[in-house]
Amino acid sequence: MRRTFPLVIAFTMGLLMMIQYFIPHPISQKFYKIMVQQWLIIISIFFYVFAWRSFGLYHINKIKRRKEGWWASVVAFVGVFFMLLAGFGDRIPGGIGHFIYKYFNFDDLYNYMFAPLQATMFSLLAFFIASAAFRAFKARTMEATLLLVTATIVMLGRVPLGASMWKGLPKVVEWILMYPNMAAQRGIMIGVGLGMIATSMKIILGIERSYLGGE
């Protein structure tokens, strides 16, 4: 029963959603809205409660055991509660919650602390790209040499310097991107598309059961 029930749900809902895709009638659209937009949101809310419990347990465990970097867990907790109080602190009469709500604007904390922190993480990508490219472009094998030559041509062709060196370079780059590169990408994408359909059908038909916890 523990296995059969989820399989029956997966089969029924998968089949219904597949049929729904081919029916434009408002009844079908309403079904989609109820299932995907409303049910999913309701379920997600409950899952968030469990997720935050999981978050709390992980960090409490780290702090309790004084694991390496336990102070980062303290920072995580402070951050979560600080943001919560900055958003809802006015509902708590007096105390630190009210104080935080009064003196720390939620939007400002988001825009001037959280957003720059995210941007900082994102900007690390520039350095990581440089270090990864350095490794990838070492012409040790035939493939790496081919990659190095192609990348050099494409990089040069995408900047004005390349066109000033040779007028035809941007056209060569366009050809590389439009034909060999696009052909390879489409090959992967067709395979991915078929793989997605196959996985979906396997789940609907109950052939694939690993997601239930067993093979």
Partner: protein, 364 residues
């Protein structure tokens, strides 16, 4: 004087026709007309009235160059409407109203006729899948070697030898993304192997639903391996739902806990290289798997093995060797062979100006 004379001659559009928009849920009517060729034309105004009403009411204006319009505001299904169009000059003058199109009724359809090709493709693929999964029973089908999957066990073994944990990152998408489901399918055998070797597995998650599913999958895997006591729920946890906070958190785990094996399997975005390069710096053996074409080069560069595109969806069958699942890969290959054949024939026919194959793939 000449201009005024020309403006006075601005003609109304001809051959105005209106019809119910096909393949929709009702509430929309398409109006088409023959374009007026006049250099002083600015655009067209579309008028509508219910059958039986005296006066037309303006419902829309469209600029010159267009000769069709979809009226989807204020349309009630089952009501008869008449449409007329008039030309508008650049000086604001108007032509007479065109001859009204015959009355039209909007109604909702029960089937998208423009998706027949999709339905047919699904039916063929479904047939192949059922046929090969049945045919594969009791037989051993050949699957080409997939290096990334072959080395999964070795990667788990390495972590065991080094006494370090395994880090499994199931991507940043939710369960509505098939790549995440594929990742969960791979998590199951990896967790089982980790349980057998008594090696801790850390699974940080970005999506709450994925967190709960991953916890259950890992727990089941530990139970199947006969080690339910070794399962630690706090090792499969929700980290953050913010993309870069999650990346920072996973990077922190890699630097502090120093996992011997990092597995990045699922859907990834801009954080892919941030994760993979950090793992590379810590010296961990890294296996990545994604169908995100834009992230593949990053993983190929920074990881030891990369499971690319469709290999991700074949992983579950490859690892379990379940004949039914392996049969489904055969169906995938046949699907690809049919598509390749059609693409080849379509290319040849297109060169000969025969577009029959191209039309088969059209969805409009």
């Amino acid at each position: 004087m000449l201009i005024l004379l020309i403006i006075g001659l601005l003609e109304p559009p001809s051959y105005v026709r209106a019809y119910d928009r096909p393949n929709d849920g009702g509430g929309a009517i398409v109006i088409e007309w023959e374009s007026v060729s006049d250099t002083l034309l600015k655009g067209y105004e579309i008028f509508r009235r219910k059958v039986g009403e005296e006066e037309f009411r303006k419902v829309a204006y469209v600029a010159r160059g267009r000769n069709s319009f979809v009226n989807s505001i204020g349309i009630k299904d089952g009501v008869k409407y008449e449409y007329a169009v008039r030309s508008v000059g650049i000086d604001g003058s108007y032509s007479d109203l065109s001859i009204p199109a015959p009355p039209v009724v909007s109604y909702p359809q029960w089937f998208k006729k423009n998706k027949i090709n999709t339905l047919l493709a699904i039916a063929i693929y479904f047939f192949l899948l059922v046929y090969f999964t049945q045919a594969a029973k009791g037989r051993e089908l050949f699957i080409r070697r997939i290096a990334g999957l072959d080395h999964l066990e070795e990667a788990v073994g390495r972590a065991t030898e080094m006494g370090k944990p395994i880090l499994y990152v199931p991507g940043l998408s939710g369960l509505s993304d098939i790549a995440t489901i594929a990742s969960i399918n791979i998590l199951s055998p990896v967790a089982k192997k980790a349980a057998e070797y008594d090696t801790p597995i850390i699974v940080p998650n970005r999506d709450p639903i994925v967190t709960m599913v991953a916890q259950e999958v890992v727990k089941e895997a530990y139970t199947e391996a006969g080690r339910p006591d070794a399962f630690k729920r706090e090792n499969v946890f929700f980290l953050s739902d913010s993309q870069f906070a999650y990346a920072a958190g996973v990077d922190g785990i890699m630097v502090r806990e120093r996992p011997a094996t990092n597995l990045f399997i699922g859907m990834f975005y801009a954080e892919s290289l941030i994760l993979a390069e950090t793992g590379n710096m810590t010296g961990a053996i890294q296996i990545a798997g994604t169908d995100a074409v834009a992230q593949l080069p990053f993983f190929i560069t920074a990881c030891d093995y990369t499971i690319m595109g469709e290999e991700l969806y074949a992983a579950s069958a490859y690892l379990s060797r379940d004949p039914k699942l392996v049969g489904s890969i055969k169906a995938q290959d046949w699907g690809k062979a049919i598509l390749m054949g059609l693409a080849f024939i379509g290319s040849i026919l297109s060169l000969l100006n025969i577009d029959v194959v191209l039309k088969m793939f059209a969805t409009i």
